[in-house]
Symmetry: C2
Subunit: 337 residues, 2 copies
């Protein structure tokens, strides 16, 4: 049995406190990873508050992990002890269904999630199936790479797989943990990048991160002024905006793509879609191979999240900072150098 | 001046009656077409009733025209007098905007529509810009080809351009004028074809037209039984169905595509899209070149609408037959042999 020191909430919405748990013997397809850094994602807060009715307590958050393989099961052939890896929302997939066989392990119906029924990266170690312990490319900065494994791949996935071309004019709604990475990716993807934000104070930072223009996301006049101009929009927010107005900003054949979990119905009808041959779509994180391709793209273009680092011991302060909407733009916990 | 004998409604919802109008001199990019056959589409009824607030009276319906070029303007180089052609919803596009230049003339913002501000095919002649007078391929049956130019291309467009593969399992909702053509196309496209109909009496006909299975579109149990199984769905109806239930019938990465004008909001949210990487999309008819490709596909596979023929003089009976939901499956007016 291996003991793991971590930080856990004992109850819904509770403060995190030091917590120790024991891991069962290592499965033959699993790896144990010594955590060095771990990002803090909005989903950690949703899970802490049991918003999705699938949290078990004690709850150890953290699903944007980078670290070093310290043990591996007998059947793990593609990783060695000492390898630098990252783990995101997924820590396992069945590897035998059509989705897994087809390369879409992130859409496997029997996936395991890093912080659902498992303890996450706010501790000295996590365990994952080898398939989702993803090797870091040489030269990547471990202290900033964590957020790429959830926030990063979530916005990289539609850019890479939904037909975004370098000649496109692309909008990003909501410039937070996910949105700021979308700006950086899209800028290097070659696109004209239009940021939608409701916070005018962020404007200069948004331009510095790669946007060519900033538009107030709740200003009907501003939305009207760019009618018919955008080829693709990525929505990273989970708030109810005027989606009909955003549909009108799309050019013919344009797509409004949601990665934010807007629970309220969009209020759109065939009238918003048919005439201009438009689409509304959505996606979760991204496939196993696409994460690797994204990491290579990041190294090639020197793309990292803009991070604020907290030592793991200050994890409650980090949660507060996030909850108050102060994160600029992604929080990373330093667990071990 | 050329005189044209036709049938027109003098007021909203009125009966059609013999009507004669004069055409101005032929424009140098236009052609006059002697009408031989003309399909009757639901849009003709919507226009007759001024549902879309864009009808002018006297109103001559008909936008699924096949006939023979009998005069052409000086600048028309791609057609000759005597050519067999068809005309659908569009009778002109600006030919100079990005959509036109890009091959998407059907998305041109300055398009002209055959029965909007123009007199349609329920008469001895119509006029169109050369670009939308589309040559019929050799060997096509003129008496049945009309409905391909609106109903046909409307369902062929998503099949041909939205990534439908022969290995896909595809659903068609609503087996009427559009839906029955979708079944025939999809069968020859190589797909597994699942028809959704609310009329059990049509079942054998639906199977005969190329569906491999028929499911009652308003039976929640039947929809539940095929959860996660469809790669693509084409909705041809304009009624409010349980769209959340249909979204659940989609496999991961699946798309629900609307060609029917459902005016009520769909009631879907990010919850329906994100987890399974799904889309909702829509489209109008199809591009100029795609109509030609569709016609070739039809000749190659002997695909025609299932038609009921009425002489033009019985156009009021034809409208009644359509209104009563009795059309099996598309009405065609015979204007001239």
């Amino acid at each position: 049995m291996t003991k793991v020191s971590a930080f856990a909430a004992m109850e819904r919405g509770g403060k995190l406190e030091p917590y120790e748990y024991e891991l069962p013997p290592l499965g033959k397809e699993d790896v144990d990873i010594e955590v060095h850094y771990c990002g803090l994602c909005h989903s950690d807060m949703s899970m802490l508050n049991n918003d999705w009715r699938m949290t078990s307590f004690p709850f150890v958050p953290g699903h944007e992990v980078v670290g070093i393989v310290r043990a591996k099961g007998d059947d793990v052939r593609s990783l060695e002890v000492g390898d630098k890896v990252g783990v995101g929302w997924h820590c396992g997939s069945c590897m035998q269904c059509h989705q897994c066989l087809g390369g879409d392990q992130h859409l496997c119906g029997d996936s395991q999630y890093t912080i659902v029924g498992h303890h996450g990266g706010f501790g000295e170690s996590i365990r994952a199936h080898w398939s989702w312990a993803i090797p870091l490319p040489d030269g990547i900065d471990m202290s900033k790479a964590g957020p790429l494994f959830c926030g990063g791949i979530t916005v990289f996935n539609p850019i890479a797989t939904a037909g975004v071309h370098p000649t496109h004019r692309v909008g990003v709604i909501g410039i937070g943990g996910l949105g700021h990475l979308a700006l950086k990716f899209l800028n290097k993807w070659g696109c004209e990048v239009v940021a939608f934000s409701s916070n005018p104070k962020k404007e200069q930072q948004i331009l510095d991160m790669g946007a060519h223009r900033v538009i107030h996301s709740k200003d009907p006049k501003a939305l009207k002024a760019i009618r018919g101009q955008l080829d693709f929009i990525i929505n990273t927010t989970n708030v109810a905006l005027d989606w009909n107005a955003f549909m009108k900003t799309l050019a013919p054949k344009g797509t409004l793509h949601h990665v934010g979990m807007v629970v309220e119905p969009f209020g759109i009808s065939a009238l918003d879609l048919v005439g201009g041959e438009k689409s509304v779509s959505g996606s979760p994180v991204g496939s196993r191979v696409l994460v690797s391709k994204m990491l290579e793209f990041c190294v090639r273009h020197d793309i990292y999240p803009t991070v604020e680092e907290f030592p793991l011991e200050q994890c409650n302060e980090a949660f507060e900072h996030l909850e108050q909407g102060k994160a600029r733009y992604r929080i990373v916990m330093k667990v071990k150098d």
